[in-house]
Symmetry: C2
Subunit: 186 residues, 2 copies
């Protein structure tokens, strides 16, 4: 009655080749190589997210909170952003941001105050504690990432990065990006 209960700990997937074979069996028109790349990509990402998640649990914050910390750190000092802007960058609704900020204020990771020059706006600012948390996550995450790519030669890393960026550009160019605004994208 231990483990296997809570779940959320990495789905148990079939061997990759077996899964591709199943797709071919059920839908013969599929291109096995394409499917293999795409499936590996998705699976790798899921596994990485599970790994990040475990590290975050050790640090006592959730993935949602990590996203907010990252967004605030990336803008640089004084680490401030409004709830609306945060919501847009994280891809969720303003309502969700309100609640996230509630929790994070309660935990001392950020502060929330009205902008006195424009009282409609609210300013969310990273606390020192929040910044420390982010640094701690960064130490763990980058160690994990370094380890993950350890087997790759410098050339392979370069090639991988270059290919991924090309794919990214392709998918972004085909996505009008919902609101239509893709100003600061690239």
């Amino acid at each position: 009655m231990t483990a296997a209960a809570g779940s959320t700990g990495a789905p148990e997937e079939l061997d990759l080749d077996a899964q591709i074979a199943a797709y071919q069996r059920e839908y013969p028109e599929v291109d096995p190589q394409v499917e293999k790349v795409v499936t590996a990509l998705g699976r790798l990402n899921r596994r990485m997210n599970v790994a990040y998640g475990r590290q975050l649990v050790d640090l006592g914050i959730s993935n949602s909170e990590w996203e907010v910390l990252k967004a605030l750190v990336v803008v640089g000092q004084p680490y401030r952003l409004g709830p609306g802007e945060l919501a847009k960058r994280l891809g969720l609704t303003p309502a969700a941001m309100t609640h996230r900020i509630d929790r994070m204020v309660a935990e001392g990771l950020v502060t929330r105050e009205r902008d006195e020059t424009n009282r409609v706006r609210v300013i969310v600012e990273l606390t020192d504690e929040g910044r420390e948390k982010w640094l701690a996550t960064m130490r763990l995450a980058s160690a994990f990432e370094d380890d993950l790519l350890q087997d790759l030669t410098p050339l392979e890393r370069t090639i991988l990065g270059e290919i991924l960026i090309r794919l990214l550009r392709r998918v972004e160019s085909s996505q009008p990006d919902a609101g239509g605004r893709l100003e600061d994208l690239d």
Copy 2:
């Protein structure tokens, strides 16, 4: 007051290089190349999921339902699996599976019945309609995937696939996989 309301339509992210530069500024020990690969990977995946999501909306099913359809199709005829096994493969709790199955039965995508040879067990089986839905998603998804990889040469596809699989193996070997069982993984 149009757009930008509902959100969930791909977060608006900074230019990749700008984001890497921010990480270097805030945490100089980071390896920019590693970070670039990892960030591109995550971002690509998110964009792809948004794209899949849009296709699914067109077909009238949710991402959750798609996952269940895939799992059932992959096992092959007669397309049967128990709720517990489904939950394990999808990486969620049995409770969530119960509700998902409720919805999918109501929509006619699967059937649920007790196993008469062992009345503790329940059997979830894909209906013809469910299988048709899956085929439709597969047609759209594979077209999207073919298009995504279109710019890559055969050699690049091979290299990409090979590198991804090596990364996958590395991350899987470092994850005891929660329950400790990784039998049919590889």
